[in-house]
């Protein structure tokens, strides 16, 4: 079985967010991590590899620096890493990203594609399903459990209060939730091996069946009007009153602000 896992290097929310003048994220200036949902997807792929035997290839699109997230994936146990990077691909929204990644995956053999549900920077949850559309294969989103049965995958799709169990013939695409599992740690030796291996780097020229109108900032239908970091609110007001007075005080304030 051949599994392709799509991962994204995202800003570490502990490190603060920085923007470019055009409103896109200044990724080069931020501390980064592997997107948590993608890491769960990778862990799921590695468990399937251990259980059923598989070759796991990890694909990412990003700055040359995104090489790190592939090395991390390989240090966890992935077999190969592919970095899609090119200046013309920069500033992509979900449409341009999914078009580009789908083109990269067309270069590969695959039975199963696993992506994270959504990335913690954009929070759109669109790229995974869009890739499946581009590749014309079925998608099962919000996977909380994955099993293999011959040529089929059996997936539990999470809902708020229940789950659906779906059986789908491969090839197909699954989007993973971070609740799917507890991703493993890398190993020290795995890290050294990951840096001894080659990461395949593909630029625009390596991607076939891809229209230039669908890539990069220019090929992105989404236009960002404005983006900013959270602005700090002023200091709140502290009052020390007993319970009844507190309630009366809060009710007064809420009325004053026309909330009630």
């Amino acid at each position: 079985m051949k599994i392709v896992v799509c991962v994204k290097q995202v800003p570490d929310t502990k490190g603060g967010v920085k923007f470019n003048p055009d409103g896109t994220l200044n990724r080069a200036a931020m501390l980064t991590i592997m997107n948590p949902d993608d890491k769960a997807g990778l862990e799921a792929a590695l468990r399937l590899k251990e259980q059923y035997g598989a070759e796991v290839t990890v694909v990412t699109m990003g700055l040359p620096k995104a090489d790190e997230v592939l090395r991390e994936a390989m240090a966890m146990g992935a077999d190969k890493g592919i970095l899609v990077t090119d200046r013309v691909l920069g500033g992509a929204d979900t449409w341009a990203t999914s078009s580009t990644i789908a083109a990269a995956i067309r270069n590969l053999e695959y039975d199963l594609i696993i992506t994270g549900r959504q990335a913690i920077d954009g929070d759109t949850a669109q790229v995974g399903p869009q890739i499946s559309e581009h590749l014309d294969i079925p998608v099962i989103s919000y996977a909380q459990d994955i099993k293999i049965d011959g040529d089929y995958v059996i997936v539990q799709r999470q809902y708020e209060d229940r789950y659906h169990e779906l059986k789908v013939k491969m090839p197909c695409l699954i989007t993973a939730l971070s609740e799917l599992n507890e991703p493993r740690y890398m190993t020290p030796g795995g890290i050294f091996d990951a840096y001894d291996k080659e990461v395949t780097v593909w630029g625009r020229a390596d991607l076939k069946d891809l229209d230039d109108a669908n890539i990069g900032l220019a090929g992105s239908p989404t236009k960002i009007a404005k983006a900013s970091d959270k602005v700090r609110k002023g200091a709140g007001e502290k009052v020390t009153l007993d319970a009844e007075e507190s309630v009366a005080y809060i009710m007064g304030k809420l009325k004053e602000k026309h909330v009630i």
Partner: protein
């Protein structure tokens, strides 16, 4: 000359840091309070390969370098000195001598089991009458047919009762020099837990690193196979000294981690703690103390990393190791003491980590060669 780490070392550090924060830090206070050996944490580290970091893959290790191992001890010690020394004693004092002096069979049997985490290691040189003066050792080993018979006792042994494999140094002959002075000749042995005649004495109650299992080892007609002699007969003393050179880099890393951990906690505390209407970090005394500590820690770090690099590239690294241990241990003691002072009354309370870190730091000036021994090694090389 490059003072930065390359990417794979940066990633390894990130791994150790994440593990330390998630798995080790939450238990540190309890481990200290209850003096309980953190067996669960050790099992996790065994699974992740942390117990065989600098060991070649052919012997079940991770195939990394001494610097990676040192960073592991450092990051663990930032949050728990006990966990740091467990890895250090196991790797530097038990695996390293077998890897350096062992036969192919010993390496395949013992190093593999230790590096894969199947077994835990310890090292026994110190005796009640022999610390810095190793010649004062009394434990003897006599060859009887195809077995060595050990008699004597060892004290203050790290990983004491928890280990499975012990490197034991014992006298195998006494010779006289030209002037008629007696000289003890030592040999090194690999002793398995459960060997007949091998038992444990008292558990030491310590000031710091209280979760570390520190025991007396007792050998009463303890019989081990003849082939468990490590290295040539009579070469036990140089083997022990060479082993301690490596061990000192591990302890230097433990000391470095303790100092860094204490400084990190103190920086955060001084920003929160208010006196006279402002954070104590706004006081110049605090700022100067923090600056002094940060500068000393950086100096210690460069010495420790240089010693680790020297172990990877040089045959002899005694002086580099001695300088690293001397400076890092004294830095740890100085920094943790200052941190307790900056915490004020709260620094003296067990609820705060710096209290434990100060107690943990003291041992780094004592074990695996006191600071005075390090000064002897360094000055000995200067005056040669």
């Amino acid at each position: 000359m490059d003072f930065g780490l390359d990417k794979k070392h940066e990633m390894a550090r990130a791994l150790f840091k994440e593990f330390a924060e998630k798995e080790v830090k939450p238990l540190a206070q309890e481990v200290d309070e209850t003096e309980k050996f953190p067996r669960g944490t050790v099992e996790k580290m065994q699974k992740l390969g942390f117990m065989g970091i600098p060991v070649p893959k052919e012997y079940g290790g991770q195939g990394c370098d001494p610097l990676t191992y040192i960073m592991c001890v450092e990051e663990l010690s930032k949050v728990c000195g006990t966990t740091g020394v467990i890895v250090s004693a196991h790797t530097s004092l038990c695996i390293d001598p077998i890897l350096t002096y062992g036969t192919e069979e010993q390496k395949n049997t013992y190093v593999r089991a230790l590096a894969t985490g199947e077994k835990l290691g310890a090292f026994a040189l110190t005796e009640p009458g022999a610390g810095t003066d190793a010649q004062g050792c009394q434990t003897k080993a006599v060859l009887d047919g195809d077995q060595w018979v050990l008699n004597g006792s060892k004290c203050f042994i790290t990983n004491g009762k928890e280990a499975d494999v012990y490197i034991v140094i014992a006298i195998t002959s006494v010779t006289e020099d030209k002037r008629g002075r007696k000289k003890k000749n030592f040999s090194a042995f690999i002793v398995d837990k459960g060997a007949p005649g091998f038992s444990f004495g008292t558990k030491e109650k310590k000031m710091g690193i209280r979760g570390s299992s520190t025991y007396e080892l007792i050998f009463e007609d303890c019989r081990i196979p003849k082939e468990n002699l490590l290295g040539p007969e009579g070469k036990g003393f140089p083997i022990a000294m060479h082993t301690l050179d490596g061990g000192r880099i591990g302890i230097a890393a433990q000391a470095l981690g303790l100092a860094e951990g204490a400084l990190e906690a103190t920086i955060a505390y001084t920003k929160e703690r208010k006196q006279f209407g402002r954070a104590i970090s706004a006081q110049q005394n605090t700022q100067f103390q923090l600056a002094d500590m940060a500068a000393k820690i950086d100096a210690a770090k460069f010495l420790v990393y240089r010693a680790a690099m020297a172990k990877a590239t040089q045959k002899v690294y005694s002086v580099e190791a001695a300088k690293a241990k001397l400076f890092a241990a004294e830095t740890a003691m100085d920094v943790t003491t200052r941190c307790v002072q900056l915490f004020g009354g709260y620094g003296y309370i067990r609820e705060y980590d710096v209290e434990r870190m100060m107690r943990d730091a003291k041992i780094t000036e004592i074990y695996e060669g006191t600071s005075e021994v390090q000064r002897m090694v360094i000055s000995g090389a200067l005056l040669k």
